[in-house]
Symmetry: C2
Subunit: 208 residues, 2 copies
């Protein structure tokens, strides 16, 4: 939240403040349950003023989505820029966990889209998930024997991705059960160590 404008101006432009507010609200309530009145209230303006910056509600949503997608696309591109080794998978996983922890809104937006299967989902699939399932993404080296001939590897990719994203979308509900604010620094460390442990267990597992 509170993404800053890139220019060296000190104050973010109105359009950016609208994007910030809309991002939070779309992520929390979903597209149709978010009213432009709510967005305007949060920015501190009246709702007709929004139309000075965005054509309509749908365009505002698209702009929010665009900003989030570019923000999150870097790590995966980086991973694919070289050979996919165990170490680099670890590093990539840690990066996206930290990224979703720092800004949970993309995961939440994605979850809303997946649930209501709206028209936005197609683009999300192509830009976020498709690259992960390219044949390119096979893990090199013989170190991963667990899913070798089972056809389960794409399913494992999906599972680990779900694990990262559902932490963001579900953890708030577990908050008091765990006795820890899920978005605290301490919780981040715990979730990182859990996920890395799982990944290590997968990598080092030698058949039954």
């Amino acid at each position: 939240m509170t993404n800053q404008a890139v220019s060296k101006d000190q104050r973010p432009t109105t359009a950016d403040r609208i994007l910030d507010a809309a991002e939070d609200l779309f992520a929390e309530k979903g597209y149709s349950a978010t009213s432009l009145g709510d967005v305007a209230d949060r920015v501190g303006i009246r709702s007709p003023s929004l139309y000075n910056h965005f054509k309509n509600k749908e365009a505002l949503y698209q702009a929010v989505l665009e900003r989030l997608l570019t923000e999150f696309s870097a790590p995966l591109a980086e991973l694919e820029s070289g050979p996919v080794t165990n170490d680099r998978v670890f590093y990539w996983l840690e990066t996206i966990v930290r990224q979703h922890h720092a800004n949970p809104n993309l995961a939440r937006l994605l979850q809303h889209a997946a649930l209501s299967g709206g028209p936005h989902t197609g683009e999300l699939i192509d830009r976020l998930f498709r690259p992960m399932f390219e044949p390119r993404a096979e893990i090199e080296g013989a170190s991963i024997s667990l899913f070798e001939n089972t056809g389960l590897q794409p399913w494992a990719v999906m599972a680990f991705n779900n694990l990262v994203m559902s932490y963001v979308t579900m953890a708030p509900m577990y908050g008091e059960l765990l006795g820890l604010d899920p978005f605290s620094e301490e919780a981040l460390e715990k979730q990182l160590s859990l996920i890395k442990t799982l990944l290590r267990a997968v990598f080092e597992y030698k058949g039954a």
Copy 2:
């Protein structure tokens, strides 16, 4: 969906048909994005008729939730009725995976509630998750060494639960990536074998 009335009548009552329709719609769109007109249309009546069976929209939602919670509460109660061994954890996990696969609506409803953090979440926590985190739920036997002194065990419980539920809420989005209808029999087997493999890797993992 299409939960049948328990009585030996052949035709489900109108109230049940309303519950069926509302369950699907609430699960898909969430509470506020679901209109009573949509529900009525799906049942084949006019929206004012709904008020002959439920006091208002909120009461309808509560009734849907109640029916789902009782439907899903059996397996966990069963698990807790005896010593928690590895084998019984496997069996429990398989049972709830099959259950969510057969009716994805509880997971979807839960995800909506978690995202918008509405007033419904408290009850859900208490009735579904709290039991899993009771001290009772420690796994007996020395076979699980992975999380022994790390304090990660509740986090692992959350992680596996997220894994099961996010399959239901996210898999439709992966559908074409996996090349398989996520709710087909074949996909169920794949997801079962993946989750059991992960659990086995966790159980059998012996330190770093």
